[in-house]
């Protein structure tokens, strides 16, 4: 019971101090879990790799992984619920308040500035994903780093979404299959 509490509280703390998402919080997580000897630094790097290859964010994945290793499925649940609890409470409060203020002229003017900026942020994330997917080995000379198989998958996927409007989930499954097929045939 004490370990469950500690898992929940430690990850609640990590969840509370995770602002900005993504890899910004890797140092915080690393510090908290290596200090408690839950995992070595190599273990943390493994979780980062696993997070890259599975759906779901690193923060959640590390909570689940460490929780399960410490105390099985119940431990995993305690740590995972811990990491999402603080933001859940905050987001619900903000969502409730937002409904009341969203038509106020001041809020609308702030949002009119935020909307294009968010498009810029999403575009930036898209750019990094494209770069990482299509030019994984790019160091200086981009042409040398091009992954032609990935470019082919990218082109097929883009065409399928724009022309055939297929579901994003189906697209992911097809992309995975294409990745394996191209590896076998090309």
């Amino acid at each position: 019971m004490q370990v469950l509490m500690e898992l929940f509280l430690t990850f609640a703390k990590i969840g509370l101090f995770t602002i900005g998402g993504g890899y910004a919080m890797i140092p915080l997580i690393t510090q908290e879990i290596t200090r408690r000897n839950w995992l070595t630094l190599e273990g943390v790097i493994d979780i980062i790799a696993i997070s890259e290859m599975t759906p779901g964010p690193f923060a959640i994945n590390s909570a689940t992984f460490i929780g399960v290793q410490q105390m099985g499925l119940v431990g995993g649940a305690a740590a995972t619920l811990g990491v999402i609890a603080p933001s859940f409470i905050i987001v619900v409060l903000v969502a409730r308040y937002f409904a009341r203020v969203k038509d106020h002229p001041v809020v609308q003017s702030i949002l009119s500035g935020l909307r294009p900026a968010v498009i810029g942020l999403i575009a930036s994330s898209a750019f990094m994903i494209v770069q990482n997917a299509l030019f994984p080995d790019a160091t200086g000379n981009w042409l040398q780093g091009i992954n032609w198989r990935s470019i082919a998958v990218f082109a097929i996927a883009l065409l399928a979404i724009m022309k055939l409007k297929i579901h994003p989930a189906l697209m992911i499954i097809i992309s995975a299959a294409l990745g394996v097929l191209f590896f076998l045939w090309l």
Partner: protein, 191 residues
């Protein structure tokens, strides 16, 4: 709880469970799914509000993917909706990671996992490009918006600025633009 809330919450859970299964590549990568399931298919929320939600959830603690699920769930079906959407989006990765932690710690060494993942990355890249194009059409409406979007993109991509700093600046710029507009209209009325 009325039956409509329960029905919507159950639907939110299944929709966000699916989103949780297929969200590779971070919080923004779920936008194409939200667009498809929440905006186009169920018409729970408008396209423009999705952008507002992503702006807001980044400014509070937590993971973008989970926060936006909580927010969308709350907007659709209140507290029950928020719980349903949040658990739905987290459960797939909980199951996957638990299996990896118990049975196949070194799953990244398995043959084909790498190749399948290469393919998935390229597919996600295509999804993201399409999402930027679609959302840009609905949220960037004039030259001012285009300049702001470009500036935000460059600040992050080229100068490595923090997303929160970019959002704060954009919010202030929005306020300034409103103040300038209201001064202009007052001047016109004054004459």
């Amino acid at each position: 709880m009325d039956t409509k809330t329960i029905r919507n919450s159950l639907k939110l859970f299944t929709v966000f469970f699916r989103i949780g299964v297929f969200t590779f590549g971070g919080g923004y990568a779920m936008i194409p799914y939200i667009q498809r399931e929440i905006v186009d298919k169920n018409k729970w929320i408008e396209s423009e509000e999705i952008i507002d939600i992503f702006a807001i959830v980044q400014s509070v603690p937590g993971v973008i993917a989970v926060n936006s699920s909580t927010f969308v769930g709350y907007r659709v079906a209140g507290l029950a909706g928020a719980v349903a959407a949040t658990l739905g989006v987290v459960l797939p990765s909980y199951i996957i990671i638990a299996v990896i932690a118990i049975f196949l710690y070194n799953f990244k060494d398995y043959p084909f996992v790498n190749e399948a993942f290469r393919g998935i990355q390229a597919g996600v890249a295509a999804l993201m490009c399409h999402a930027v194009y679609r959302l840009g059409k609905s949220s960037v409406k004039n030259a001012y918006g285009l300049v702001l979007a470009l500036a935000a993109f460059l600040a992050l991509t080229v100068f490595g600025a923090s997303a929160i700093l970019v959002l704060l600046t954009a919010g202030v710029l929005g306020l300034v633009a409103m103040a300038v507009r209201s001064i202009k209209t007052r001047d016109k009325k004054g004459r």
